[in-house]
Amino acid sequence: MSEPSRTHASLLPSVAAVLAGAVYMVFFLAGESQMVVFGLLVGAVLALAAFKHWRVLDAVGQSARDHQGPFSIVVVAAVAAVCLYFYDDAFVLFLLGTVLVYVLTCLGLNIQFGFVGVMNFAGASFFGVGCYTAAVLTKHTALPHLLIIVLGGLLAALLGFVILIPVLKTRGHYAALVTIAFALLFKTFLEVNDTLGGPQGLKAAGLNLFGWDVGRDIAIGDFEGSFYLGYIAVILLLAILGFIMARRMEDSWIGLNMDAVRLDETVSACFGQSIPRWKITAFTIGNFYCGVAGAFYAMMLGYIAPTNFTFGDSLILLSIVILGGLGSLWGTVVATGIVIIIPEKFQVLQEYRFLLFSALVIAILLFRPQGLLPRPLRGYRTLKSLPGKS
């Protein structure tokens, strides 16, 4: 007797939804004229509204929740398929790679903010630590690049310890101040110091995995694809790994403990929770995610500078987390796609993009404060499917 109130949903609706989404993405990304892109966007909004009205979305959601494993595999396959479709379109691939980088980053911020409730307004700074680690280490050392990516995460986590004490001691808006001040400080520091390239930034070497130069175009037999396919393969793996870890964390006692700390510190303390322990855990792991994503990003981009790591960038990262829904991992994935891709497809709006983006976030916060895909209740579904040995 697991959930007697309803029957198991079929896998079909969610698979259909993913396929529809993938096809839509192909059209959207390939669309060049602004009219087409705009039409597709309006069409999507209308279709979603209609589907919501006919309760199609509920069915999809239910189906996805009941079949997490297969659903996730279908999603990954769909993402891979979309990437392969654009195998020689470097820009679209670059965009998709960027989305995946931000997915990993925002998953980290979601662990901090959505799980344990630590607001990190310096996400871009920790991301930047990863970037700079990669730029400096690829230039001055011969360390394997995979190790450098891990080191990027570790250094970001380490730098997080610098502001750990104020983060732990403060609450609410005072805690916001700590990270805001840190973000401002970090960017100014990068700009005025000379050793890290100052405002001009640094070049970062391209990723090289065990002798495979990822920055080279891919040619296998007759197939010739952009080198970005290689980068996407790597970041897709990292993002999946990050997602699985976050998901496992959510569906475990740790997720519960973190939720408890976020919702009520006093009650948590009365039931034996160590509040600092979970805050430190989430803060450090989240920063690690940011650092890993940053180190990879530096290698993919090839060039980094302080203007990438401003308070404004941190804000965009946080907007993604809130837009997706606090603590909602799938929400983060969807919101990242929207926030990164849509403005890019509307280059014609040029100088109006920031204005519209901000207005959009305001509208969502006003009318759908729970985010696009609100976090579902913890159902320990990933545990239920495991064979028992009790």
Partner: protein, 258 residues
């Protein structure tokens, strides 16, 4: 008293200039239901908060099971075997019933990062155990809730929330349960149903001591073995309910008789 579970001596608590508890002496006997009576602001909840380590005591000692727990943090007090409910029901509203109850069992669970992330089968086994345990416990109070164990508590009525809160406190098998005004926000009838539940629990668990704060005198009359009355942070009377209810000073302070 022979071998009390909890003994309080000279306990004092001040907030700035305000004195909330003054030289309090109490001895709570084992396996009894101990009532704490007093008008609003007389220091009852403060007493709970000092015992559970939320507020540090200004003076005096709290001894639980022969161990001095006066300076313990809330976490250590919980591990020593003291669990509580709150006057304003404090469940984690967006979470499910199961999660809320599970939280109470923190000391029994494996909380290591490695265990939770990588030893998923062992975790699943622990999870199943806990699910059964929670279901069994909540079934005692209300079998209907056991069926809804994956639903969020935010939609539930007050009596269900109280029951879940008591389950949360009981699941770790504490030796001492502190109930802070369980009837608050409930109807008279609901209150008595809850009292039935508490008495039933008390029957089932041999080694359980309860301290209850309550304004409903009928409740106190029905379930307590022993009562103490506080006023302005001081104990003014102690005895069975009948004894304290008859005490003229108590009547003056609390029952509104001049």
């Amino acid at each position: 008293m022979q071998n009390p579970l909890l003994s309080i001596s000279n306990l004092g608590k001040k907030f700035g200039g305000v004195t909330a508890l003054v030289d309090l002496d109490l001895a709570v006997p084992r396996n009894r239901i101990f009532g704490l009576i007093g008008p609003n602001g007389s220091g009852k909840t403060t007493f709970f908060n000092v015992v559970t380590g939320i507020y540090p005591a200004t003076s005096g000692t709290v001894v639980f099971e022969k161990e001095d727990i006066t300076r313990f943090s809330p976490q250590k007090v919980y591990r020593a075997g003291v669990a509580r409910t709150f006057q304003r029901s404090r469940l984690l509203l967006p979470l499910s019933i199961l999660d809320n109850i599970t939280l109470g069992d923190h000391s029994q669970l494996e909380n290591g990062l490695f265990f939770n992330l990588f030893r998923r089968r062992a975790l699943a086994a622990q999870y199943r155990q806990l699910l059964d345990k929670s279901r069994d416990l909540i079934t005692i109070f209300d079998p209907g809730l056991a069926d809804r164990i994956f639903e969020p508590v935010v939609n539930l009525p007050m009596i269900s929330r109280r029951r879940i809160e008591i389950c949360r406190a009981l699941i770790s098998n504490p030796k001492l349960l502190l109930l802070d005004e369980p009837s608050a926000g409930m109807t008279h009838e609901e209150t008595h149903r809850l009292i039935d539940d508490i008495l039933q629990i008390k029957d089932k668990i041999a080694d359980l001591t309860i301290i209850i704060i309550e304004h409903e005198m009928s409740v106190m009359e029905r379930i307590t073995d022993h009562c103490a009355v506080l006023n302005f942070g001081q104990k003014i009377c102690e005895g069975t309910y009948q004894q304290v209810a008859a005490d003229p000073e108590v009547q003056k302070a609390y029952l509104g008789v001049d």
